[in-house]
């Protein structure tokens, strides 16, 4: 009986050693950034050694390869498969965080937010509050909420660099509400606030001129003329002035945010999505 068990063990160990060897080959390709061949080898591992442990690992690594190659849809497909076979809490946590990160990169931030909520509500990950807050900070960056990002990076601790970057960005951003209120009260002022002086001056001139013509019509008791002029000229220029302000604020803010993201991408050395 002992001999039988010994031989069976032989049988199993030989298989495990082979799987291990294949895994090492795939890992070395991954480390050498040869992602295409790495995916092939991980798929080979899945095909020849199809046990639960390998299924999780190989799918997880295939997801990573696709993530590195910016093939986010495929990455999500394989991370999701990997999650199905994850048995340890750590494996589940890491896979979910990677799913979250790929969703961020793919700009499906709603899915990312949902995933982070799931992780946060899972009692098994109570010890990972700092990591969760760190990624919440990144989620806020991708949602253009730099004020909230400062808060979460502060909560995550030891991320002063990111906190500072977000604080600086928040200071540079233009307030859309403020700009719109300016334009409501004095047409053109919103454009002045964003530094677009010529556009602001033109807006003001058109609104004043069309306003004068409208009032003049009412004063001459040509009420219908006044209504049409007010609708076709005055309201068009007044409304246009507010829309114009909004457009400038969005444009300027996008440029500031893009600059920040570029800076993060190129110069930030910590963990990024």
């Amino acid at each position: 009986m002992n001999k039988f068990i010994l031989i069976l063990l032989c049988f199993v160990i030989h298989g495990t050693v082979k799987a291990q060897k294949l895994k090492e080959v795939a890992d070395s390709l991954y480390l050498a950034e040869n992602y295409f061949d790495a995916v092939t080898e991980y798929k080979r591992l899945l095909f020849f050694y199809n046990d639960e442990k390998n299924k999780h690992y190989a799918n997880f690594m295939i997801g990573n390869c696709y993530k590195q190659g910016a093939k986010y849809d495929e990455a999500i497909e394989y991370f999701s498969k990997s999650l199905l076979y994850a048995s340890l809490d750590e494996e589940i946590f890491n896979t979910k965080i990677l799913l979250f990160r790929v969703n961020l990169l793919r700009r499906t931030t709603q899915n990312a937010e949902q995933l982070l909520k799931e992780i946060e509500n899972d009692y098994r990950f109570n010890d990972s509050a700092n990591t969760i807050n760190y990624w919440k900070g990144w989620l806020c960056i991708f949602n253009d909420k730099f004020k909230d990002a400062v808060y979460y990076f502060g909560k995550a601790g030891s991320n002063n660099e990111l906190k500072l970057i977000c604080e600086n960005t928040q200071k540079q951003l233009y307030s859309l509400t403020k700009a719109k209120i300016f334009s409501y009260f004095l047409p053109g002022l919103g454009q002045f606030y964003t530094g677009e002086y010529l556009s602001g001056f033109l807006s003001l001139s058109w609104v004043v001129l069309s306003g004068y013509l409208t009032i003049d019509a009412f004063v001459s008791e040509r009420v219908f003329d006044g209504i049409v002029l007010g609708d076709l000229l005055f309201l068009r220029f007044y409304g246009g002035n507010i829309q114009n302000t909004e457009k400038f604020v969005i444009e300027k803010n996008n440029s500031i945010i893009n600059r920040t993201l570029k800076n993060l991408q190129e110069n930030y050395k910590g963990i990024k999505p």
Partner: protein, 284 residues
Amino acid sequence: MLYMILKKCFFLLLFFTSLIYSQTNYLSPENRKLFADYLYNQDDYLRAFDEYRIYLQTFENDTVKLKIGQMLIDMKRYSEAEDYLKMLFWGSLFSEEAKLNYYLIKYKTLLPRDFRSFTGQRLYYPEKYNIYVKKLEQISYFYQSYGNPDSTIMFETFNDDSLAFRKVKEFYYRKYYPEKKSVHWAAGLSAVIPGLGKIYTKNYSDGVTAFIVNGLCAYLAYSNFNAKHLTRGWIFTGLSALFYGGNIYGSIASANIFNAKLSLDLSEEISNFFSDKNFYIPKF
């Protein structure tokens, strides 16, 4: 004694089995083929192609060559696909299938008229699959902007499939007898009654708006001049002229957009329909 010998034999057998198993090489040609089949079923053609190619370095296998040809066509690597298919033209069981796929490549790479003249030469012609080549010929008419094919031949070619027959007939009439809108007629209508050109091009809301705005501005211009309010009179005249010109220009644009959309929608529909059906070429 006999029991002991049998027991030893059993363990020896088990041991050798385990030894053979452990020495199974996942990079052996046979295993590569198995793995390539798995990748092929996952539609991972790029990797499947690599594995099949290595397998073919050891074994001759026409099924694999045909599979490679079809995969390469799907990956739009036509010249490589041609090379693999040509290997099967002579002395292979899949000669006709390879030739049919070769014609599919020609269909995809040549201009419609050139493709039909190529089929006319009957070079490497797949006699067994003659009907599929005929179908390709007829489909090619839908991708050219000139000439008018014989509708009887076209409909007869697709007679064996009711859905294909119905769709081909529909595409034929929509392509060669489209319900286009005349640009001149739209402009003329808008010049006489503002907005009518837009209504003619089925742009109803814009048509009604154009009519109301033009009428209103013209009335206000007239009324202000009558009441000797010259400044406002001129403002409304300017607005009327602007809206009137815009209404004619808009009607011309609307007719052009209508016609372009008609043609674009049809092209897209034709392309999607035949691509989904793999141009009626069976996968082997």
